[in-house]
Point group: D2
Chain length 340, copies 4
């Protein structure tokens, strides 16, 4: 933390800020500049709350210097975290493709789509049994029945399954059936749920909140990791901006930033970012091009009959073509490899 004093700050004010710093157990070091003094706070463990000092007389502003996250930080653990899920490894060189419908709607639907996903070379299957819906009157998912269908998909096609958990009361159940437990964008700062996920043996797929900064997102992961679960997959899914031609705006810069700041793997969900099928194709290829550790894509063989998100679901033939293109792009990047 650097506390910048006003140009007209008095010696007493400077003295008093330094005392306030030391009273909190930190070390204060004054840095005289050309026309004002700044005070560095040293030897603090973790982040210091800027607001504590910003209001003292003579203070212009308090600027945080260190990052608040520890366990998830690449400065703490330099080598990339690799997460093994059955035969699939997320966080390694190979791009992982997760695909499936927005929601499990019936066994027939799930099995039909899973067959397509498998044939096109998908690595894992996704599908919601508990659906967070803006409207209380919209389809809310099949619940445990949906989870059982997912288990059947895994057993039949050998595809590990990812599914969302929406609250504490269903966590045990979801954990029982799923290979990876997803925490959705609306729950990124549901801290009770994060703590519970931290006690789970399952890897956690943590979606970025709709308007979360990377720092807030990594702090949410820190909640999970602080409880003992190191297997966290971050998922960028677009953020809310003034833009209206897509459902969200995919923030691809978050991938290199997260890969520099953290050792955790990061994947991309182009479907929710786009909201429209014809945008999912280019964004899916872009996900491969930025060296994400994977993608998660919505596929439906009858999107016009889908209970939710039909317009952003790829047809099986489109998904097949996209897989081919993403794998080819992934190959091109092999030698450059940056932080992956």
């Amino acid at each position: 933390m650097l506390i910048v004093m006003r140009k007209d700050a008095t010696a007493e004010q400077i003295e008093s800020v330094m005392r306030a710093v030391e009273e909190r157990g930190f070390k204060a070091r004054p840095i005289p500049g050309g026309d004002r003094v700044s005070i560095a706070i040293l030897f603090n463990q973790g982040a210091v709350d800027a607001s504590t000092f910003e209001d003292l007389p003579g203070v212009k502003e308090a600027i945080p210097v260190t990052r608040p996250y520890k366990l998830v930080s690449r400065e703490t653990k330099a080598d990339a975290t690799k997460i093994q899920i059955g035969d699939v490894c997320i966080g390694g060189r190979e791009m992982v493709i997760i695909a499936g419908p927005c929601a499990v709607e019936s066994e027939k639907q799930a099995m039909a789509i899973a067959e397509h996903v498998k044939k096109s070379g998908g690595d894992m299957f996704r599908g919601g049994a508990f659906k967070p819906r803006t409207s209380p009157y919209a389809f809310q998912g099949m619940g445990e029945e949906g989870l059982k269908i997912l288990a059947k998909v895994r057993d039949t096609f050998g595809l590990p399954v990812v599914t969302e958990v929406m609250d504490l009361s269903h966590f045990d159940m979801v954990e029982h059936y799923a290979d990876v437990v997803q925490i959705g964008t609306r729950n990124m700062q549901n801290f009770s749920l994060l703590r519970r996920a931290g006690e789970s043996k399952r890897p956690v797929l943590l979606k970025r909140g709709m308007s979360a900064t990377v720092e807030e997102w990594l702090m949410a992961a820190e909640y999970v990791m602080a409880e003992g679960n190191p297997n966290i997959i971050l998922c960028e899914r677009g953020v809310r901006t003034f833009v209206r031609h897509s459902r969200n705006t995919l923030d691809l810069s978050a991938i290199p930033v997260v890969q520099r700041e953290s050792h955790l793997p990061i994947i991309i969900d182009p479907s929710h970012a786009a909201g429209y099928r014809d945008q999912v194709l280019p964004l899916g290829r872009a996900a491969a091009a930025v060296n994400a550790h994977g993608v998660m894509i919505e596929v439906h063989h009858e999107p016009e009959k889908a209970c939710s998100d039909g317009a952003q679901s790829l047809l099986p033939s489109q998904f097949d073509e996209l897989c081919r293109q993403m794998r080819a792009i992934d190959q091109i990047l092999q030698p450059s490899d940056e932080l992956k």
Copy 2:
């Protein structure tokens, strides 16, 4: 819903879209325009999913016409909802002032602040016992002990208390002690929590999500109301924008919009919008000037020692002056009264 066809849409495509509409049980009515045809969907109950149609051949776009909310809509119930909490009525002509510290830190602290709040003419007391914090290492609140202190504040000063509930597992406990149960900005779309709040006998204070549209916010209220609890107080607390000089950007336009769209009372939290004490004063007065049904303000007698949000907490003397100004502004508006 209005489905706009492309200029070059064929008669077959138009026919096929109309069939798709009717198959879903709605009525389709074609509207030939100068250079393209549009198709109106009629007699639908509630909102129709635009994405269902946007992807059919020949369709340019699908434009929602009706709002998805019902119970909370002013078109459903024209007269304003008034909520009685002890002697306080929220939703009536009089502006309600809720104030207190960000978090309950000790009985001594809570009682000291409550005394100031009472003396300045505050109507209700706020204080967090369970605190949602970005960092797992930050102060997380006193839990039940904090709730007991709140109860003591109510008993001592006759101020009804508002406090936040963070998850399902503590709902019974919070409900037991609190007069109004608050659902925080990060939980606005925690649908399980909303449903539980809908079963509560307590009024619910529902904060707007950090980047929620008014429509999403009203749909969150619809979740609560659909379960049987009609006593919902909406609270605008600023939204996330590109702006960095304040913690959030207070969206004052939301007040007249909500008052037109819904019968529910709406209050303003200038403290979390501002993030800095010197901004809370003008924003608090602005809250009175836009005819909100109330304000919720953070006050601390020793902000430099606060466990959280010290920099945005008003000093008791500032709060006192602000109350005086807000009441005076509220008086000025009496005759104009718009939708309140």
Copy 3:
């Protein structure tokens, strides 16, 4: 500028960054912390470009400490700038009300509206002769003929007039007729226009860019002031956010921030922020409540016939009521006075 080194930065890297700082003529001072070193840059005149250092080996980030603006800064000139325009003073205790139609449409229209403005106690008249329109096919303003009508309004009613200049080629002409020359939101970073405004004898009303930070806005004012014109009125008119229920989101926090950072007067345009008449009323009152130095409001006696912005123009009777309320709110604030 504070350069934060990585935890694993080597002594050579630190040495090399310090050399890079000194090569640019600044003084470098190392600040050893608990687990990393930071380097303060001292004795720099004006802002240092962060990007110069952020890319050197071992550097984690470069954090700007001082503000880049000089002439407009309150640290440079502590007392508030007051601008005298005829009998009107902007920047003093009294709130200034500027009102009129979006565009001058005819002499009859302008005179009719001006009469209302005068009667309700407006201080100045606004009206566009050159209109920046999103569409090349929309009404573009009356040009010089419109300016002549504005001059007639001034002569008839004694109201100084504000009007927008859109490019270099019309500056002399606008300056000839207007009392205050407005630079619109789309031109806030039209640097050639800003320089020309800096050579003008007329006060300049500088609207905030649609997504400008306060810093960028003050730097635009710095362009004007650096050329010799100290008479600049800043005008907050809403910023672009994800919000769709209003045309823009009014950023009221900008008022206390600008009043702290700069000595220049700041007014508010609630009409363009709102976009809808029923929002202009509460936002206009809020403008008075936050202690802005003035407001600029669109009024039209026949808004349904207006060439532009009809929906956000107040009716004369609404404007009259709003003036009454704003003046009453302004009176309440007299004793508190903060930075005004």
Copy 4:
């Protein structure tokens, strides 16, 4: 335009809205729904101003249906516009790579970088002679001297040159030296400049405004095209959002949207979107992956000495590698080809 009436609108109100529509020369057609009436406006040429009707009694809202742009619309001209600049064709199958320094700083600098650009297979050269800078005290470009250096680069390396024009007074000069005239993000709605560009014989590279919608951007292009210049290259360069880890947020969804809505070619500037060199590499590859018609990238052989934007300039070796990767990705996409 669809005018949605309130549920409680009276027959008189509906009648009166229909009259208002017809008075403006349009045709009004009522559409009775389940619980409310809507009124379609037919046979309008171009866009109708929603605000004209939104304020009439009984109206809930007015929803625009048709797009306001004509000449730039793909519905007007179905085949893609191809722009020939010397040997380079923008808008065809082949991805065009434009590269060079942010600003021309000296002949030596420009020639050295151009040699690298040429060697790596760049198609065109970029470099600013007039620089829009936030600060009046920052380097403002070499002016005509810089333009002469650009002309020399073209003559020496056979690379057509792109450079920015900042105002009307320099347009003739820039046009004289440049092969493509760039209009920068801050001038996207400088309508006088757009009109002048419309009279130019040179192709125009039109950057998206910092917070412009695609519709506003296409309307800016419409200004140019309405004056007679059909050769417009759109350039996505990131938009302003709440995100702070990159300079802007690259909006890749804009590419498929523009390619669907308009026949004009669209390229991507990953350098200004990113702001940091290590983000430019993945975003540059993503630009290739989404099938943009080209990229524009900042390259500098001595970025630490650059007068501006050093931190986002690629080193020649990085640029070389990026070109190789982008060309390889472009090859993969050949067969799929979507709208390009």
